[in-house]
Every structure is written in C-alpha cells, then in structure tokens.
C-alpha cells in the first residue's frame, strides 16, 4: 500500500447526516464526497489528531483539526483500522488513538471536560459525549442537579434530516452528589 497515491473507503457517513459518501486519504490531506454534492476537504497542514472509536453506525474516525474543530466519519468496519493506521502514519506521520466505549448500561460514572466536549465515562471508557458548543441553555432544576438543553421544543429538525427519521436528544440532566470539591488540576485522561 505504501506506494499508493490514495486510499478510499466507500459507504462512509460524515457527521450525523444520512448520506453515504467516499472517504479518501491522500498525501495532501483527506476528504469526503457524498450525496447532494457535499464535499469536505482537510489539508494535511490542518490535521492535528486522529481518534478511532465505536459509534452507532459502525466505527468512527475522528479528525481533530488544528482549529480544534472535529470532523466525524462513521461507517467503518473494525478491520479498517489497520489500513487506516498504516495510511495515516505514512501520509501524515500521525498515530490513531483508539478510544474504548462503555456498553455496560450504567447511568453512573464521571463527567470530564475535553475541549468543548463533556465526556461521560464509565470505568474509564467513554459512554457518551456531549458537544457543549451546541448547547442552547443550562440550568439547575434542583439541588445537586445540572440540566443541559440542546434542542428547544419549537425548534425544527436539523437541516437535511426528515424529523420522522431522527430521535433527537433534547436535554440531559445530571445528578452530582455531595458538595462541589475544591478544583484540582486536571488528572490524567
């Protein structure tokens, strides 16, 4: 593979959109081309970090750009990791960080802030992540409770998605027992 100019993966989703497209890695950067003429190109100079995790639609490659925005590409198969690892190492000299997910089904764990994401971890594995940049409000409905609101009842469904084809998260409420501990330095992640 080392002499190939580019590596393609078909049937890949970009973000939460419903259309499939072709994901391509090349020496100059990576890109995705899908339905409705949607194209995304990320130049090699913009690439900061790569992450691999399990998502709902198969496995996901996350591309963190230098401006700290994240692009998510879903629909990979678990065996695609080896090929991706090799290509990303050769083309961009970057490693892929593999993040494990928790599927235990527990509702207790630890909330961690990673950039603008709130990660909910169970036994040090990611259970879910909330993009706080998309939050529209937060409030304190009760003692030791914090609610984060992402979608208002009157709001239309996201662009390009049929409202019947989506189960959309509107809000999350956390219960944080005890008093707030003194702020300590961020531990290891």
């Amino acid at each position: 593979m080392s002499d190939k100019k580019n590596i393609d993966f078909n049937s890949i989703y970009c973000g939460l959109q419903p259309d499939l497209g072709r994901f391509r890695l090349s020496q100059n950067g990576l890109g995705w081309k899908g339905g409705r003429d949607r194209t995304i190109i990320v130049g090699i100079d913009e690439l900061k970090k790569m992450c691999w995790t399990r998502a709902a639609r198969g496995f996901e490659l996350r591309v963190l750009k230098k401006d700290n925005t994240v692009l998510k590409f879903d629909g990979f198969k678990s065996d695609d990791l080896d090929e991706l690892k090799e290509a990303i190492k050769i083309f961009y000299k970057l490693p892929i960080e593999v993040k494990e997910v928790s599927v235990k089904g527990w509702n207790w764990g630890k909330a961690d802030f990673q950039g603008s994401n709130l990660n909910f971890n169970v036994t040090n594995k990611t259970m879910f992540e909330l993009p706080l940049a998309q939050a529209i409000a937060t409030n304190k409905p009760g003692k030791n409770e914090v609610a984060i609101n992402f979608v208002d009842p009157g709001q239309p469904a996201p662009d390009g998605i049929n409202p019947k084809d989506i189960d959309e998260l509107m809000d999350v409420t956390f219960y944080i027992p005890g008093t707030v501990a003194k702020e300590t330095t961020n531990g290891e992640d």
Partner: protein, 136 residues
C-alpha cells in the same frame, strides 16, 4: 456488616459485554429497545448508548406540535419517593445521568417505544419482586 436483614445489596448488571454485541439496528440512529439484553439503546450524538432497565426509574411521553417527546428518568441517589430510600448504589458518589429527553416526529414509533420501555420496566420490577420473595 450489621444484621444484614434489611440492608439491600446492590445487584450488579451489565447490558453488553462488548460493543460487538450491540444489535445491528443501532445503525439507524434511533432509540432501540433490546428485550434480550434488558436494555434501551439511545442515540447520543452518533453514539449508541445503552442503559440497562435497572437504571430506569420511569418514562413519560408528551406531545409537542408535530413531535412526541419521550422523557426517561433514571434512578439516582437523593430522589424522593418513600420506599426507595434504601435503594443501594454501586457508587453513590459518582455523577449520575438523572434524565434524558428525546423527540421524534414519528409519533407511531415513539408510542411503540414508550410501550416497550414501560413493559420492560414492569417485567423487570416483577422479576425483582419475585427474586426478593424467593430470598425470604
């Protein structure tokens, strides 16, 4: 440590051993009720996130314009509710997900999901009661 008669113990549970066991339907990015694994799998920003039925307190459904909203309340410490006072928790000092609200314009499917969830909860409560009676 004390007489142990009244002290309820936390019963361990687990939805799935590994992510490979998640049902295929999660690809639809919609709520999936998996009876075989006593779990509700919720789509949260592209991830398939299971919650075991033992974590659920109750569910409620309401209409809002073209949408149906489904609210799931989970069991956490510090909840009012009389007999729940002795509820044991694995780690009472952890951060808990107390509630999640979802919406969809597919009213028929949301009604089905609501029904399956409440049925699953009833079934789980019944089993738990039977287990306690057997233990007595």
């Amino acid at each position: 440590n004390d007489d142990g008669e009244q002290k309820a113990v936390f019963r361990k549970f687990e939805s799935y051993r590994s992510e490979a066991k998640l049902p295929r339907e999660v690809r639809g990015l919609k709520i999936v009720v998996d009876k075989k694994h006593d779990s509700i799998i919720l789509p949260i920003y592209g991830m398939a996130v299971p919650f075991h039925i033992s974590t659920l307190k109750n569910a409620s459904k309401s209409d809002e314009g073209d949408f149906v909203m489904l609210r799931l309340n989970f069991l956490t410490p510090g909840q009012a509710g009389g007999k729940r006072e002795d509820m044991p928790f694995d780690d009472p000092n952890a951060t808990f997900v107390r509630a999640l609200t979802f919406r969809s314009a597919d009213t028929y499917r949301m009604a089905e999901i609501y029904r399956s969830i409440t049925d699953m909860k009833k079934e789980a409560t019944k089993k738990e009661t039977e287990r306690r009676e057997m233990a007595d």
